[in-house]
Symmetry: C2
């Protein structure tokens, strides 16, 4: 039996709530590993603290608040991460704020703050890692804490752990379909011959695309993921050096592809020469990535001793929440 661990959940949108619900649902299983107590929950507008830990019932009630609704509670405080750390001293910081690829904020400052306070970090927010991967890893090493980030890429598939376990040989190239929204749209376009705008509306209707889908369609999401994967395999590249070509596909392009037995996919890649890009590409039907449809993700990894292909879920709330929880368990062990 391990000791008590105090956990702070920063970011309380759909992923944050799904994660907190999962924690309560799995509390019996988690108790075998550690006494895990949620001592802080914060959204963009407010935060609630409880040094002794919220009960499962209290956590579920929090999940029923409207989005950004923590401040409506009488006990709510203004969001203040310094105050949070001084009041409840969390051991594990779970960062589930949205990605901002210009500044990395608020995730970047939150994570730096957590590490400097000697808390382990688990993040599903890609932006801080995509912008400052090696600095954050160095800072974590110096403070003897871990950073879990398996949910940042292929959120439903434990790819990162597989890559981290490769040590005696090298990864030379990565080719992936890493964004579920755009892959769903392209699959719809190929199968139903609908224009891109209509495919986007369908993705929004089933809840996989954001109301503002630009992070997906402009390639930021895929670019951040290829940067994270590349850094994991010790190929350091920078987000600003990833060539991003936004997804813009006409129905006539799709029709031409179908005639030639090709498929258009939105591919994120690291090439052996270090060039990294995100762009729509025509793939032959024989390409292992060509058959990866809908919200599936896939990655083809070229190593000095051969190729590995992994296909699995790209994300989804419950899948991402499970991977966040697996990271929380991982940093505790």
């Amino acid at each position: 039996m391990l000791n008590e661990r105090k956990i702070a959940v920063i970011g309380f949108g759909s992923i944050g709530r799904t994660f907190v619900r999962l924690l309560t649902a799995k509390s019996h299983y988690i108790k075998k590993l550690a006494e895990l107590r949620v001592v802080a929950v914060a959204d963009s507008k407010g935060m609630v603290l409880k040094p002794s830990g919220f009960s499962d019932y209290e956590l579920i009630k929090l999940c029923e608040l409207p989005l950004s609704g923590l401040r409506s509670l009488p006990e709510s405080l203004d969001l203040d991460i310094d105050l949070l750390y001084s009041e409840v001293q969390p051991d594990i910081h779970v960062e589930l704020t949205p990605a901002n690829y210009e500044t990395g904020e608020p995730g970047l400052s939150n994570i730096v703050n957590a590490i400097n306070n000697h808390a382990h970090v688990v993040t599903a927010n890609k932006a801080p890692l995509a912008l400052r991967f090696s600095e954050l890893m160095d800072l974590a090493r110096k403070n003897e804490v871990k950073i879990g980030f398996r949910s940042t890429v292929m959120g439903g598939t434990p790819l990162i752990d597989m890559l981290l376990s490769i040590r005696s040989y090298s990864v030379e190239s990565i080719h992936g379909i890493l964004n579920a929204t755009t892959n769903f749209m392209l699959t719809e376009m190929h199968e139903k011959l609908i224009p891109m705008e209509e495919a986007l509306r369908r993705a929004q209707a089933i809840g996989i695309a954001e109301t503002d889908p630009r992070l997906d369609l402009d390639g930021w999401d895929s670019a951040a993921k290829i940067v994270i994967l590349s850094n994991v395999v010790r190929r350091e590249i920078k987000l600003q050096n990833v060539i991003r070509e936004p997804l813009k596909v006409e129905l006539s392009d799709i029709a031409e592809c179908l005639r030639n037995n090709n498929v258009i996919k939105y591919v994120a890649a690291l090439e052996p020469d270090g060039k990294a890009y995100v762009k729509p590409m025509k793939l032959s039907r024989r390409d292992p990535l060509a058959g990866v449809d809908g919200t599936l993700n896939a990655v083809r990894i070229g190593t000095t001793i051969g190729e590995i292909t992994l296909v699995g879920k790209g994300g989804g709330r419950i899948e991402t929440a499970h991977n966040v929880l697996d990271d929380v368990i991982g940093v505790m062990l």
Copy 2:
């Protein structure tokens, strides 16, 4: 900089030699992690010990001996694992002896001996784990040592580490093509319409099938692998309960499959109800396993939050040696 680690290499056939050569080739890289010294090398007939560690030159000379040739050296001793442990006290025991699925020996006794002597174990020999998985893991936990075994299944692909990282959800089923020899044979039969005997001769000619191929063709190798994978995901099954149907495919079966757009694959599986089997199966061309050809391996993992498919190299000497080395690094860290 970590401390000095003493390593014993038990089993000195083709994998053992490839591993020792890789150690010498990578010695510069390994030095950054630890001072790794090979203090014992043993084959089925003899052993050589050097408490201060063999030099890279001495190791390469050992690799040039004929198979089972250690005893020809003047300093060679009769194989005696107890004597080996009392003389050189290795920290890491690398077990590369051949698999015996009846008794597990000599690997099983060697591994138990190593653990009882508080050495970490890295094994590419599947039989001890396939026969005594949970006992060996319990014994290792009790003695506070690790067992690395990533090279036992899909030797060229870090599948085991990925599965070990799944903690908060469950694996419900596994379907795999886990034996490279039989998959190569079946691919040759489909592509060149040759009989099974001829396909076997070709596999032997290119060095991927043993002179005695029964462990592959009777399904023992695949069965051992499905047992190890199942136990890794906490689905405990026993080797004797895996239903094994030997690979016996006629050219007429292949012809019929080709007419119906199917493929015959030698599939190892764990079903949700706990049933495990190895048998030739007709797969539709749309099945993700159907396109896995030649010496590639693949595994489709059904989890409570979706499916993961991994395709990569099944084995090969250098690939397996790399995975053994990655395990050695893993147990040291």
